[in-house]
Each structure stands twice: as C-alpha cells, then as structure tokens.
C-alpha cells in the first residue's frame, strides 16, 4: 500500500483565484492511498517546503503529488526537495493547477472541477510510480575538437588551459583555417596573420593539445562522456618525427602547382607547406602531382632531405580513441558564385574576383607582395567595383540568409584599396549596410569619407569591354540605371557550410538546418550546445559570423566542455526506456524506431521452465537513451516501457480521469 501525500498550493491568489483550493483538498482526502493532504499559501517558499518535509516525516509519506504551477516551472525544485527526504525524487507527480487551470479559466466551478480531475490523475499515476535512481556515467577526460580554424583553435586552447587534454583535427596540412589568409581584420585593421599565427604556434606547442593535421574524422559512436572516435590521418609521405621543416625539399622540388592558399594566383611545389607560418611547420607531399608518386621517377626531395624523412610508401593511418566531449568547428566555405551568376561572367573573367582573392592580393605575403594588382595583367586597377550580397539574401540564385560579415569586409576592402591606390576610384554596390558591432559603423563611415562611393542597388550585369569591365546596375536612391567601368571587380560572396560539415554533424547525431548549418540545442538559451549530449559547436559551422563572435562562441563552447570534463562522471537521466526481457520477443521494432540508436538486440541466456535457452532481446544503452519513449509505442507486447511514464501509469491516469 502506497502512502500518498497531496500538497495543494494557493500560489497567493494565483491559483486560489479561480480554484477552490480547499474543495480540491477535500476531494483529494477521499482518494485511495492518500494519507495526507495539505494546502499552502506559497508552497515553493522556504516555510512551504519545510512543512512538506515535516509532513513526509510525520505521516511516513512515500510518494507525493504537488498541486501547484507547471512542472516545467518547479518539478526540479520538488525533486530537489524530495532528495533531501526519504522519498525518492521520482515518486512525484505535479498537477498543473496554475498555467493550465487558474490562469486560463474564469469560472471557479469549472476551474475547481478541472483541478480535482488533474489531482485525481496525478494521484492515480504516482500510485504506480517506482523509485528511480540515476546511474553514474564515467566521463573520459579528453576533448575532441573538429576543425582547426580560429574557432577550433580557441576552443582547444581554452579547454587545454583548463587542464584537459584535447585532440584538434584539421583536414588541411596546417591549422589556422581562413583567418591567416586574411590581410587585416575590421574594424581595428590589425594584421590578421599577426594575431592568428601566434595562436597557431601556441596550439602547436601546447603540451595538452594533440594536433592532427591533414586528418579527418572517420566515424563517431558512443555517447556523452564516452565517444569512440576514429580519425583518418591522410598519408603525408613524410616522417614528422625526424623532419625538421628545413624546407630543402620544397626549394628543390621540380613540380609547380597552383597554390590553393593564394587561390591559384601563385604557384607552390608538389611537396609543400601551406604557408610560411604553417603549424605544424612541416611539409606534405601532394600525391596528385608528385612525379615520384604519379610517374615513379624524380625522387629529388628524398635525395636532398638531410634527415631522410621522405617516405613514398606512406599510407593513411586510422586511430581510434575515446573522448568525453566533442566540439564541432568545421567552419565555412565561400559560395560558388561562378555557377550561380552567369551575368557576372560566371567566373570566366580573370579580374572579377572574390573578397578572399582580394585579401590575398592586398596581403604582403600574397602573390603581389601586397601591391594591389589585378590577376589578368598585374596592372594596378585604377577603378574597382565592390559588389556585396553576392549569393547572400538572394533566394532565387544563392541563399536566403545574410552572411553578416560581408558588409564589414566590403568596407574594409574599399578602405584598403583607397589607402593603397590614392588616385583610384572605388564603387560599392549594396542592398543594405549592416554594421552591428563595436566600432563597426564608425569604420563604415570612415570608409565613405575615404571616398568610397556607395550605390544602393544590385549589379545586373558585368561584361568585358576592351581591357576594362562594365558593371551595369541600378542606383535605387536616384532611381537611375548606372554603368560603371572598372579595372577590377570584387564580389563579396556569401558564406556556406564547409563541405562535409553535414556528414560530420550527422556522425555525432547532430542535425543541420536546410542551409546545412549545424543546429544548436536552443537558439537563445543553449547556443553552443547541440541536441546530442556532449557535442558542442562554435564558429561559422553554426551560421555566418565574424571573428569576434566566433572567438566568443569558441570560449563559450570550451567552458561547457570544461564543465563536463571537470566531473569524473555524470548522473544519467533515469527516466529512460527499460526492457522487460521476459516479455521481449526481439522482433527489433524498437531498434529501428529509436532516433538515438540506443537500442541493440543482444543474444542472452535465460532459464525457462527449468532449461537454459538463448533468446534475442532488446537492450537499452543508458547513456544514449534520451527517454522519448518512441520505442514503447512500437512495442506491441509492452516489453519496452518508459520509466517515469510507464504504460501502467498512463493507463491509470486515463482511467482516473474517466471513472472516479
């Protein structure tokens, strides 16, 4: 026989206003197994809680019904309260008498009648509740950060500085991501490489950070605290233990290839370091172009290498390790405008370039040593047109969202151009100018004062005429069509998720939105968590943002990870699925329906009418199960049940409403 205590709250006049609390209490007293009923002015207040504790002691109550506000409001409060008594925190049901009765109904009679029903249902259910105990899930004290851009680096540093080992996976030969490619950062115009490369070497030298460059995450399994992750390290053909990064090989290598780092505006060797300050500061061999690997002749690098670190037989290596937490920082790519904008030449014009090209051009370590020249003939462009929102905010051709950073880096490019080519003219076509950020609008104004001519309207066509380009567009402020001659056109293209980021997210059981950005658990309140416990995100993999926001988010994600890894173990949510193996017929319906892959079929030995038999039964992984209960509805025999919301409990609730 259970001993149920019912506590009904006035909530001042909040509930009492439209519910006759005492009448409710009187009915409650008549309900089966209810041994004690108490009403209270403010149950959640300290005196209120104290009297509950007292009552539990005095009347030897073993389960509790709270007739109060919404469980979404105070269920945890009550659980905490009960955990301080002898009553198990899950021997609790909350009847929502405020949000769903007093606040929404005017008629006191009806309100009271409904309140009584809700109490009845709660009593009926709690009567069938069973004590639940959360198990301790051990936490592996190691974090995995996927993506070595500024977001990933920052997150890795913050986590490692807090004393937790980190593995940083980057698919390129060097960490750093896009930031070192940039020349200066708005609005302060400090040199991007100068603030980024120190971070890179800090990451490279950090005793607790294991940098896995030229590597990709192959598979992720497991659950919070215990992710089994397999990482594929692509063949570098170089022994990094002995290589000193002297660079002899690179200077002697006879094969020249377009340099991706300069977006093909300069050449690199087939054995190469991505850029001077690359971390790790050691080369890799580009298997596609290396003569030795493609044609089997050459081998120059091997001959010249003083430490004999070249190994043409090198192969991809797979390593598997366990991690407590995962941070997604897979970053962005620029939208492929060539496919989308035929009217801009579709990529056939050498001097119609993207903002990233411009960054390299204007960069002192770029193809033209920082002199502004145009790719086609290395002439200094005397007039430049900058087009914003190329791909962004254009659902017909590109994406519907705003890429957030373009307005500012557009202004930056205009400023840099006018700064380096004083006699040059610079026109900026824009839809809106969006400059939310510290010192952003000031910077934009400054750029305008530098003489950048802002024209509100989109460019409808760009075509070559002689050795210059004609940009046709509309100036929607003057309402006139304009045609501007430019020696070079810079398209400020929008951001899209980096290729493969969706796949990576999927591996970790995280969803992406329609545009492919990784979805956060809650846009406002849980911006760096994901819906799969133990997986966090930061930077542009979540959506377009600039460097300050990225770094801030990386810090936030890191703090979440630190909070998790600081614990030796976490308490599992005990309200999860549970298999009654004697009922389970092992037809696997639950396995297929589980969104978290938490259920597996296992072969197990049972004693049945005094003889041993092997049967296949479902088995729930407590770490993975999130307690949605989809499996219970798929299970015909009811072998699969959801603790806290059991079949029996719900049936009794229903009956209570109908019959008492």
């Amino acid at each position: 026989m259970s001993r149920i205590g019912v506590f009904v709250c006035y909530c001042g006049s909040n509930i009492a206003g439209t519910v006759d609390v005492e009448a409710v209490a009187d009915v409650a007293r008549t309900l089966p197994n209810v041994v004690y009923v108490e009403t209270n002015k403010y149950t959640c207040s300290d005196p209120g809680q104290a009297s509950i504790k007292a009552a539990i002691e005095e009347h030897n109550i073993d389960r509790v019904v709270m007739g109060t506000c919404s469980p979404r409001m105070h269920e945890l409060t009550w659980r905490k309260l009960l955990s301080e008594t002898k009553v198990n925190p899950y021997m609790l049901e909350v009847a929502n008498l405020r949000e769903q009765v007093s606040w929404v109904h005017k008629d006191k009679a009806e309100g009271t009648a409904k309140a009584i029903d809700l109490i009845k249902m709660a009593v009926a259910k709690v009567d069938r509740n069973s004590a639940l105990y959360s198990v301790e899930i051990p936490i592996t004290d190691r974090a995995l950060v996927i993506g070595g851009g500024i977001a990933g680096m920052q997150a890795a540093l913050d986590i490692a500085d807090a004393g937790h080992p980190v593995t940083l996976v980057e698919r390129k030969p060097s960490i750093g991501g896009k930031m070192p490619q940039l020349d200066k950062t708005f609005p302060t115009m400090d040199c991007s490489a100068c603030i980024c490369t120190p971070k890179m070497s800090e990451v490279g030298n950090h005793p607790l950070i294991d940098v896995r460059s030229y590597s990709e995450v192959e598979s992720v399994s497991g659950y919070v605290g215990n992710f089994e992750v397999t990482i594929r390290e692509k063949a570098k053909y170089i022994n990094y233990d002995s290589c000193t990064g002297c660079g002899m090989c690179e200077t002697k290598c006879p094969t020249k290839v377009d340099n991706e780092y300069d977006l093909g505006m300069s050449k690199r060797k087939a054995i190469y370091k991505m850029f001077a300050q690359a971390v790790p500061s050691k080369p890799v061999i580009d298997a596609e172009h290396c003569r030795m690997l493609t044609e089997g002749k050459c081998g120059v690098c091997e001959k010249v290498c003083p430490t004999h670190s070249i190994n043409y037989k090198d192969e991809d290596k797979l390593t598997t390790e366990t991690y407590g937490a995962v941070v997604l920082a897979t970053g962005y790519e620029l939208i492929d405008w060539g496919k989308l904008y035929g009217e801009y030449g579709g990529g056939s014009y050498p001097d119609v370039i993207t903002g990233l090209h411009f960054e390299r051009i204007v960069n002192a370590s770029g193809p033209f040593e920082g002199h502004i020249r145009r790719p086609s003939d290395q002439k200094e462009p005397k007039s430049v047109v900058i087009v914003k929102c190329v791909g962004s905010r254009d659902p017909n051709k590109g994406v519907s969202y705003c890429s957030r950073a373009c307005c500012m880096y557009g202004a930056k490019h205009a400023h840099q151009y006018l700064d380096k080519v004083p006699d040059g003219k610079c026109y900026v076509f824009y839809m809106d100018v969006r400059t939310p950020g510290k010192g952003y609008d000031e910077f934009y104004m400054r750029t305008k004062n530098d003489g950048a001519e802002y024209l509100r309207g989109r460019v409808s066509k760009i075509y070559k005429e002689g050795d210059h380009y004609v940009c046709l567009g509309e100036d929607t402020l003057s309402g006139r069509q304009v045609s501007v001659n430019a020696d070079m056109v810079v398209l400020e293209t929008g951001m899209v998720p980096a290729p493969g980021s969706r796949e990576t997210a999927m591996m970790c059981g995280v969803q992406c939105d329609l545009d492919g950005w990784v979805t956060e658990a809650h846009p406002k309140l849980r911006p760096v968590e994901t819906n799969s416990a133990g997986v966090y995100l930061c930077g542009t993999c979540q959506g377009p943002k600039d460097i300050p926001d990225t770094v801030a988010q990386a810090g936030a994600a890191a703090s979440k990870v630190i909070g998790l890894l600081n614990k030796p173990h976490i308490e599992s949510n005990p309200q999860i699925s549970h298999v009654d193996e004697s009922l389970c017929c092992g037809d696997g319906a639950c396995v297929d329906i589980c969104p978290y892959g938490a259920i597996k079929l296992i072969e197990k030995e049972f004693r049945e009418n005094s003889r041993k038999v092997k049967r296949t039964v479902a088995n729930v992984n407590q770490g993975l199960c999130q307690g949605c209960g989809a499996c219970t509805a798929a299970c015909r025999s009811g072998a699969m049940d959801l603790l806290g919301f059991t079949n029996e409990g719900i049936m009794k609730e229903v009956d209570a409403l109908c019959q008492w």
Binding site: S582, L583, G638, N647, E648
Partner: protein, 286 residues
C-alpha cells in the same frame, strides 16, 4: 491430390530418416469425416499418418515456433503458409535455414460442414507458395478472388456513420474474447500478449462492448503493417465475426497512405511502414 499425398509422405520419410530435419509439420485425418488436424511428427514411422486433401483447413506455419528448438523443421507450405513463414522470419522468430519448406499446390480448401470453399480461400490471392525448397506437384492455377480485395471495406465506408457504429458494436458485443484469432495469427508473435498483462491494465477481464472493442481495435493496430490476409482469424472465430473487415481496412489505408505493400511475399521484408517515415508523408494534423 492422392499422388501428391503419396509423394509428400515419401519425402517426409526421407527427410526424417536422413536426419536432414528433426520434425515435420503437416496434416492428419481428424476424428470425423473429412476433418483434418495439424500434425507434428518427429519419427519416420509416423509418416503414413500424413494426409493432404482439399480439407486441410489449418495454416500450420505457426507451429514452427514450438518445434524449432528441437532442430530443423520440414513444413508443408501453400500460399498462406509460405507467407506466414516469411512474416515470422521478418519478426526474427526464426531464420530461413531453420525450416525446410515443402511447397504444395492449393486450389482452396473446403469446409467439411458445407462442402463449400472457406471464405478465406475464396478471397485468396496467392494460392501457390511464394517460397519453398521443393515443390510437390504442379502449381495450381492462379485463383481469382470472388470479389475485389477491399470491396467490403469500401461498401461499409459508404454507409452512414451511425449505422456503421451500430454494425460494429454488434460485432464487438458478440465477441467472446476467446483469443482464437490471436492464437492462430502468424503475425501475433509476442511472447505474452497485451491482453494477458493484467497489472498494466490494458485489457479488463469483463466481457463487454468496451473491453471487446479495446481488444479488437488493438489487435488490428498490432497487425496493421504485417497482416498476410490468410483469413485464419475469421475461419477459427467461433462467433463467425467478419474480422477481415477490420484487417483489410487497415491494409487499405496503409496502401493509400504509404504506398502499396503486401506482407509476407519475400523472406527479406522491407521495414514496416509504421516504424519508418518520410518527410513528405501525408499531413492532416497541421
């Protein structure tokens, strides 16, 4: 028929003697004229008890679950039996290798009382086995169902709601909840049926309209995505309730909603429509 029966006995003998199978499931003569009952033998001596004639009403596949632990089972399969086998394989009850399927032609079975074909046989759409290891006798000519598969359902749907209500309430009231329909159903593979789990309180013990309705509706929901339309439930119902009128309704809707599907046609069934989904599914609940 009789030569098929002789061949069948001979094969059963070989199989049992060679030890290739441990038991054999078929039919034997019953106590009354033209009556047959399911037969399970493990000894080659008993093979001449086996009979096969136009009165072998029972679909015997479900017995495999009982005798399988003793070793490989030789099973006589007609259309309905073979689909039952596939269905139970899909429910991981046993694997294909556990059974040796002896295919038998079937042109419908007769009711010994009336001498007429059983209703389930007049509606049969797969009278020859869809899967077997060997076939004894030539496949029988494809039977043409008397009326369309869903005609009855459509007819009932067209009747006014309250008449339908009364009609089905009468059926529910008449049900005595003997659970014969469940026991014979090759899709009911639970170790313990929900109706026997009294603590949970799914199914009350009283025999009344409410409880019977609960039982019947739930039964249909439980087999909606897997019913092979063998019609055994109807045949064994002591109250002659037209249970297929429910099963077919569910099958029809599932076909309309999630695409044509017939259960038990292959021994690797696709996942059931109720444990899969598509983003573009019908949306009526916005």
């Amino acid at each position: 028929m009789s030569d098929i029966q002789d061949k069948l006995r001979a094969r059963a003998k070989e199989l049992l003697e060679s030890g290739e199978v441990k038991s054999f499931i078929g039919w034997e003569a019953g106590r009354f004229e033209n009556q047959t009952t399911p037969l399970i033998i493990t000894d080659a001596k008993d093979t001449d008890r086996i009979i096969y004639n136009e009165y072998c009403a029972n679909t015997v596949a479900k017995y495999v679950r009982d005798v399988k632990p003793n070793g490989k089972v030789a099973l006589c399969v007609r259309g309905c039996d073979s689909r039952a086998v596939n269905r139970m394989i899909a429910d991981l009850d046993f694997v294909r290798e556990d059974v040796y399927l002896i295919g038998l032609p079937c042109s419908g079975m007769k009711d010994r009382k009336t001498g007429e074909l059983f209703k389930k046989c007049t509606e049969c759409r797969h009278n020859n086995p869809v899967v077997f290891d060997e076939m004894i006798g030539e496949p029988a000519p494809q039977m043409e169902p008397a009326e369309g598969r869903f005609d009855v359902v459509k007819k009932l749907e067209d009747e006014p709601r309250d008449e339908r209500d009364a009609y089905f309430d009468r059926i529910f009231r008449k049900c005595i909840r003997c659970y014969a329909c469940r026991d014979v159903c090759p899709c009911c593979t639970c170790r313990k049926c929900f109706v026997d789990q009294h603590r949970v309180g799914w199914q009350g013990k009283q025999n009344n309209l409410a409880e019977n309705r609960f039982y019947q509706l739930t039964r249909v929901m439980h087999i909606a995505d897997r019913c092979i339309e063998c019609g055994e439930c109807e045949r064994v119902c002591p109250m002659n309730l037209p249970l297929m009128e429910f099963n077919r309704k569910a099958i029809m809707d599932m076909n309309d909603l999630f695409g044509e599907f017939e259960a038990g046609l292959t021994d690797n069934e696709p996942k059931s429509a109720l444990i899969t989904y598509e983003l573009g599914d019908v949306e009526e609940f916005m």
